[in-house]
């Protein structure tokens, strides 16, 4: 009986901790959602309304209307994130396969170098990145966001994909070579289809990461609306229109919606990607 009681206590304790952490993570999201559904001007009514007394979609109408057209920023975010995903997958799959499969001097050192680059916070490199993008004539363009974001995704993508490739049986590549396929054909026809789950995980992480990227987007867009992604557009709205929090909240909800849907659908791949284990190279 004492043991059962102890186990139950442990269970209650664990659930309690998880509930607290979940509350801590989800509370801001909840607040944003209900704020977006409040009538503009009533966000800070006293006493604080944890559940709106009345619901309104007025803020969504404003955000989607001719004044803000957040759908343009969402479109830009989609374009940037999709391009980053494709570009990152192309680059990381090639670099990861090289590390996982080819024998060459300084292989481990190469992987460490790539990972070290990933450990440098983007804010440290924002100034040289700006200069580089400017020299390429890509300021205030979506390409100016896409190229650096691809680079940001190389370390994690390479790590994830290298682990995945290393886990594939080498017999398949040998069989393809004997069947008549040179290395790149083998990579394209045999390895890539088999690595689809890993590619999916890496792709989802790249998409989510680039969707929410703010600092680079703010730096490169330089205030031009046609080059703004969702996080920057929301900041611009809030600065321009006297912090109408209901509108800002509606913008945030709309920008999060695709991401939340994506995570819910592809959560298996996100978890797989985040928990890719250590493999001998």
């Amino acid at each position: 009986m004492r043991l059962l009681g102890k186990q139950r206590l442990k269970w209650v304790y664990s659930i309690g901790i998880i509930a607290l952490i979940s509350l801590f993570c989800l509370a801001p999201l909840y607040w944003i959602v209900i704020t977006s559904l409040k009538t503009p001007g009533t966000e800070f009514r006293k006493p604080v309304e944890y559940w709106p007394s009345s619901f309104s979609l007025e803020s969504y109408g404003v955000i989607l209307g001719p004044q803000f057209r957040i759908q343009n920023a969402i479109k830009n975010s989609f374009i940037v994130s999709s391009a980053v995903t494709l570009g990152a997958l192309l680059v990381t799959s090639l670099s990861a396969y090289t590390i996982a499969r080819l024998r060459f001097k300084y292989k481990i050192e190469s992987l460490i170098l790539i990972q070290l680059a990933g450990m440098v916070p983007p804010i440290v490199t924002i100034a040289p990145t700006f200069v580089l993008i400017r020299s390429m004539g890509l300021l205030q363009t979506l390409w100016g966001l896409i190229i650096p974001n691809i680079a940001y995704n190389i370390p994690i993508g390479t790590w994830l994909m290298a682990a995945y490739f290393a886990g594939l049986p080498t017999d398949l590549e040998d069989a393809a070579r004997v069947d008549g396929y040179p290395p790149f054909s083998t990579f394209w026809r045999v390895i890539i289809p088999l690595a689809a789950p890993g590619l999916f995980s890496a792709g989802v992480l790249a998409f989510l990461g680039s969707w929410g990227e703010f600092m680079l987007a703010l730096t490169i867009s330089l205030g031009l609306p046609s080059a703004q992604t969702v996080p920057v557009a929301i900041l611009t709205f809030s600065q321009r229109h006297e912090l109408q929090w209901a509108w800002v909240s509606a913008g945030i909800v709309l920008s999060l919606l695709p991401v939340v849907v994506m995570v819910l659908i592809f959560q298996k791949w996100v978890i797989k990607g985040l928990t890719a284990g250590a493999v001998k190279y």
Binding site: A175, R177, V178, D179
Partner: protein, 362 residues
């Protein structure tokens, strides 16, 4: 169809020499079996012929053409792997068709050839399935189909039966041998199973430590092993070895409680070598066990009996050595029983204990 020849082939992985200056010819149309224990270099040799390993030294010729610098996708060899190496994301049809697509065979041609090969291997109705939906035997046939469909010059088989259960393995052995004879394609077959090697081979190559120990027909290797390694590796149960001292005045071998008058065919070689010690080799089936031994006969004590159904395997204590003998299934013996043992003189083989090489007989 083509002859394959390797000359002074050396393959090293760092300091480890996997194939040590091997020279060998694989005759056109023959099934040559490379057999030996794990790590003997047989798979490395096979992979070198396929082009999957770069050789450290030496040459490989396929159909008279040196192929050292030729990549595997240009060598016109086909390989069947131990794991089958079927592409899991493709159907059986696409697995078999894969090498044809590399050669840009037209679609209708691919379809007819794959279907024909599938029918001949008994998997015609399974071609729509993916590998995970197939049994071990079916996967093996798909792997064979993929090798056959492109009509290569050489088949390379790396222990293709070792993942099958015992019964299926025996069945597939016969089918594979028949298939190879029907197709007449030069085949290099690797196995660690000496029984499989004996049944499959036109020519047997026994390897150990990266070197060839003996090359010959299965019967020749079985009956006239070149050294103690070959004698002990080929044949199951293995050949018995009794370490004896040689007494030239009586032309006899002696060991504790054991004496063996030598057959005359060894007179010349023993006279020229004049060793002090000789190893006597005799296969279990060449020892005749007598329940009622004659006076003066060689005696042995039963250590354990193993009834196998069609025969009984006896472990006997003889000359301070454990030896195996094969007895009829109905024999009734218990542990500790004393029996007489008669050696078939024609089957006795002698070996030099230092070099382990077989002593020549007239």
């Amino acid at each position: 169809m083509a002859e394959v020849r390797v000359e002074n082939l050396l393959k090293a992985f760092g300091d480890v020499i996997a194939v040590n200056e091997v020279s060998l010819t694989f005759e056109d149309g023959d099934m040559t079996v490379l057999v030996g224990p794990s790590g003997c270099g047989k798979t490395t040799l096979l992979r070198s012929i396929a082009g999957l390993e770069d050789v450290s030294a030496g040459s490989i010729y396929i159909g008279g053409q040196e192929v050292n610098r030729m990549p595997p996708w240009d060598r016109n060899t086909a390989m069947v792997f131990q794991s089958y190496a079927l592409y899991p994301h493709m159907t059986a049809f696409n697995n078999v068709a894969f090498p044809l697509r590399a050669r840009r065979v037209e679609r209708s041609g691919i379809r007819s050839r794959v279907q024909r090969v599938g029918e001949s291997l008994g998997i015609g109705k399974l071609l729509h399935r993916k590998p995970r939906e197939l049994s071990g035997g079916q996967m093996q046939r798909v792997a064979l189909g993929r090798a056959i469909v492109r009509k290569p010059e050489v088949f390379l088989m790396d222990e293709p039966l070792s993942n099958l259960d015992a019964k299926l393995r025996v069945q597939m052995r016969a089918e594979l041998k028949r298939l190879q004879k029907d197709l007449g394609i030069t085949t290099v077959y690797v196995t660690h199973d000496q029984a499989e090697a004996m049944t499959m081979a036109d020519k047997l190559v026994v390897m150990q430590g990266g070197r060839i120990q003996q090359v010959g027909g299965p019967e020749e290797v079985y009956l006239y092993p070149a050294n103690m390694f070959v004698a002990g590796f080929i044949g199951s149960p293995a050949m018995n070895f009794i370490h004896c001292s040689y007494h030239p005045d009586e032309f006899t071998l002696r060991a504790p409680s054991f004496q063996y008058p030598l057959p005359s065919r060894y007179a010349d070689s023993l006279a020229s070598i004049a060793p002090d010690q000789v190893v006597l080799g005799i296969r279990p089936e060449d020892l005749v066990v007598n329940l009622d031994p004659e006076p003066g006969a060689t005696l042995a004590q039963v250590y354990v009996t193993e009834p196998l159904g069609k025969e009984t395997l006896l472990t006997l204590e003889l000359a301070a050595t454990m030896v195996k003998a094969v007895a009829p299934p109905q024999i009734e013996l218990g542990i500790g029983d004393e029996v007489g043992v008669v050696f078939d003189d024609d089957a006795v083989r002698l070996f030099d204990p230092e070099t382990e090489k077989a002593l020549p007989a007239a």
